[in-house]
Amino acid sequence: MKRRVHLVIFGAAIAVAAVAAITVPALSNTPIGQEPSDKVSRGATQSHDRGTDPGGAVLRSELNAVQGTVQQLARTQANLQRELDRSAEQRAATEAGPAAAAESAGVEPDDPTAPDREASKLASRCDEAIIGQPVDPEWSRAKNERFGAFFARPPLSGTRLKSVDCRTTMCRIDLTHRSKEDRTRFIQSFSDLAGPTGMVFAHIETADDLDIAVYVTRDGVALP
């Protein structure tokens, strides 16, 4: 990016030099206040009178020299631009290697670890929310009773309640499952832990994780 800006500045400098080369000699004898278009056309007119103006030959040779320099600079700039484009393409190809390969295979180049990472962040936010809350004894008691009835269901015999921590708007439940099948059975019905307008989040860190944390919000309260 920085190199590209330099090249633009460089190009602008060349353009200014070229304009200066054409107009400055022609302007040297122009009275103040005269229109620029007249000045240029006058300079052009003068160039046709080369036999009658001795200073014209000097100016012409200076102009030729400047024009040569400008052309050389323009060539240099074009070469530099080509080199810059080539190196940018190479860099892009190197950096986008996996993405390009995924694209050609018709696969999204998304990070496969992102879901678990985001789930961990949600769990952290839940823990932070709970820690700052006082206990609402009435709601906490009601939730504990509900959880007790839920985990007493026969299909959940492979799920053991380790601890429950209910505060004002959220509970954290720690569970352990006998097997992955038990965990699946729990997940199938875990929405019953919340009231009709509450929410439940089961944080399962890995595919084989049997010890999980479950967060249950109070009715009408969203997960943080």
Binding site: E108, D110, P112, A114, P115, D116, E118, A119, L122, A123, I187, Q188, F190, S191, D192, L193, A194, G195, P196, T197, G198, M199, V200, F201, A202, H203, I204, E205, T206, A207, D209, D219, A222, L223
Partner: protein
């Protein structure tokens, strides 16, 4: 077409996109037969509903369209399921679920029918938060009780 015209068109297109992004997502009616069984004896009927023709409770999962560009929505809104419950012992119960391709799951609470009736009932489920992922997917999960006074079914769901 001159540059000014192009710029005006570009601005109008930009405004249109902005307007679309700021507009609430419209709800869609989806037929019950879109729901697929996770367990139990569930089949579609000629009315486009999903009915439990077995004697025990069946669980179905009803897919919800998620625009990948919109999957980071903070909430799924408030989906509704229109059901018939003809079992006196058990109810039709639904929850709204959201998941990424990881292991964790988020669910809204369970909303259930009550009583026995051949009339249609509406279950309203709370929205569930989404994740800012390309892979976020949503569905409604419902338990349909077995045959009682008649078949219980999911008629349609709105999301």
């Amino acid at each position: 077409m001159n540059i000014r015209t192009l710029r005006v068109m570009q601005a109008l297109v930009g405004l249109g996109l902005f307007g679309a992004a700021g507009t609430a997502v419209a709800l869609n009616n989806l037929p019950g037969f879109q729901c697929v069984p996770l367990s139990g004896a569930v089949r579609p009927n000629s009315n486009g509903h999903a009915e439990n023709f077995g004697s025990t409770t069946a669980t179905v999962m009803c897919p919800v369209f998620v625009d990948a560009g919109q999957s980071g929505l903070a909430s799924s809104g408030t989906p509704q399921v229109f059901v018939v419950d003809q079992n006196s012992a058990d109810d039709v119960c639904c929850s709204s679920r959201v998941k990424n391709t990881g292991q964790s799951v988020v669910s809204g609470g369970t909303s259930c029918s009550s009583g026995v009736t051949s009339a249609q009932l509406a279950l309203t489920n709370p929205g569930t938060p989404g994740g800012n992922f390309t892979f976020t997917h949503r569905w409604l999960q419902c338990d349909i009780p077995g045959v009682g006074a008649g078949v219980s079914e999911i008629r349609l769901y709105r999301y």
